[in-house]
Amino acid sequence: MKLTAIRKTYGERVALALPDLELEAGRITAILGESGAGKTTLLNIVAGMTAHAGSVEGAGETSYLFQDPKLLPHLTVEGNLRFVLPKALWGAIPAMLGRVGLAGRETSRPRELSGGEKQRVAIARAFLYPHDTLLMDEPFSSLGLSLKKSLIALTKDLWRERRQTVLFVTHDVREAVCLAHRAIVLRQGTLCGDFALGEEERDFFAPQPMEAPLIRALTAAEAP
């Protein structure tokens, strides 16, 4: 995917101004940044949902995993998936629900699910929806640590099956290091770091050496 001279302004305020960026297909790229860094704006630009200057090439069809699962309360779990999916894919719903640990919960309503189960439904929805690029907007940020660890593992397992391009927005360095292959750090709408994170599997509960430079880039702290 190629992002060329992306720029987004709200009146006089520049929300995002990026240099040309090339994102490798079939890899997970984390977009790290604190609140107001322009992370979600970048996702919405890639999804074609926000007017902007510059161009996005090669994103193809996109799917979205939100921070809030955004499940319709009056629909069942299966109904929520059917709501966004083309009819041709409805047959794949039970298998995907089994895959995310929700076998037999097709007829449950969102209010009968825990926070983690709701996010599992959202993960199933995002992976089932036909896409070339998956956009993830802080989907684990409101979850407890154990749940976060298991859902990150689930997301990575599902990603391995098709190896789509993933843009993963987060402000959590540990999440980025455990899930992504590359981290791009944004601060106040500008690029201030681009780090290769490698391929190896990392333990979510263990501190990682890659975290220190990311935190420094994220917080503008001077290197010791």
Partner: protein
């Protein structure tokens, strides 16, 4: 709950005492009939076929106006929720309908339509802006919560309307349907009074006033109030049944 019922009962007793006190102060049966005389007249109305024909006529006109206003409001609010242009187009129309004097509309409609149709149309024109505003507010709320989801997954307009918007607005519309229907009854009866509609409660009230049958006029007024309560209660019961069924 019991305490609230007690306060409601106290309010009814206070209104009854006010009537009795006013009767003894006014002491003129042509201005204010006694409570018991009015009760007797209510009984006489309820056993007469003419009252039930008038009752059926008014009820049908009210329900027709409400049904038409609801259908129109659902269709236009859905279009307005999906398109900013449609919303902008209808904004002044709704503002005009909301502010235009009801009596003036009835008089104009009487020039153009029959005495039976004018009350329905005026009720429709008064109910439509209220229903449209309530529906649009609910739709906007649904759009705020799920608009991004629909855009991100490119959900088709029919699916948005039937699977998101209509189920999302149903509870709030049902909750307000009773009071809006009751308002519709009030407007329909006003229209019937002015239009002197045949086989209508409003027409019967006009007849009673012209014939100086004051107890009958009061009896019909009380019966219209009771009909309004019945319609509100019916809607409340229906909305509770639907909510329970959905759950």
């Amino acid at each position: 709950m019991k305490k609230n019922l007690l306060f409601s009962a106290l309010a009814i007793v206070a209104m009854w005492l006010t009537w009795i006190a006013a009767y003894f102060i006014v002491r003129n049966d042509y201005l204010l009939p006694s409570f018991w005389e009015t009760c007797g007249e209510i009984g006489r109305q309820l056993v007469g076929a003419a009252f039930w024909r008038a009752f059926a006529g008014t009820l049908l006109r009210t329900l027709a106006a409400f049904g038409l206003a609801l259908a129109l409001a659902v269709a236009l609010a859905c279009c307005a929720a999906l398109s900013g242009a449609v919303r902008a187009f209808f904004a002044p129309v709704v503002s005009v309908l909301r502010t235009v004097p009801t009596m003036a509309v009835i008089l104009i409609l009487l020039l153009w339509t029959s005495h039976a149709v004018a009350p329905v149309l005026v009720s429709l024109l008064v109910l439509f802006p209220a229903l449209y505003a309530a529906l649009l507010a609910s739709l906007d709320e649904a759009k705020e919560h799920y608009g991004l989801l629909c855009r991100a997954f490119k959900v088709s307009a029919p699916r948005k309307i039937f699977k998101l918007y209509l189920p999302a607005v149903a509870p709030s519309v049902l909750a307000q349907a009773g009071s809006i229907l009751s308002m519709g009854l009030k407007i329909t009866v006003s229209g019937e009074v002015l239009a002197q509609t045949f086989r209508s409660l409003g027409g019967a009230m006009q007849d009673a006033q012209l014939g100086l049958e004051i107890p009958r006029l009061f009896a019909l007024t009380v019966l219209v109030v009771l009909l309004g309560f019945l319609l509100e209660g019916g809607c409340l019961l229906l909305s509770k049944c639907i909510v329970r069924w959905r759950e």
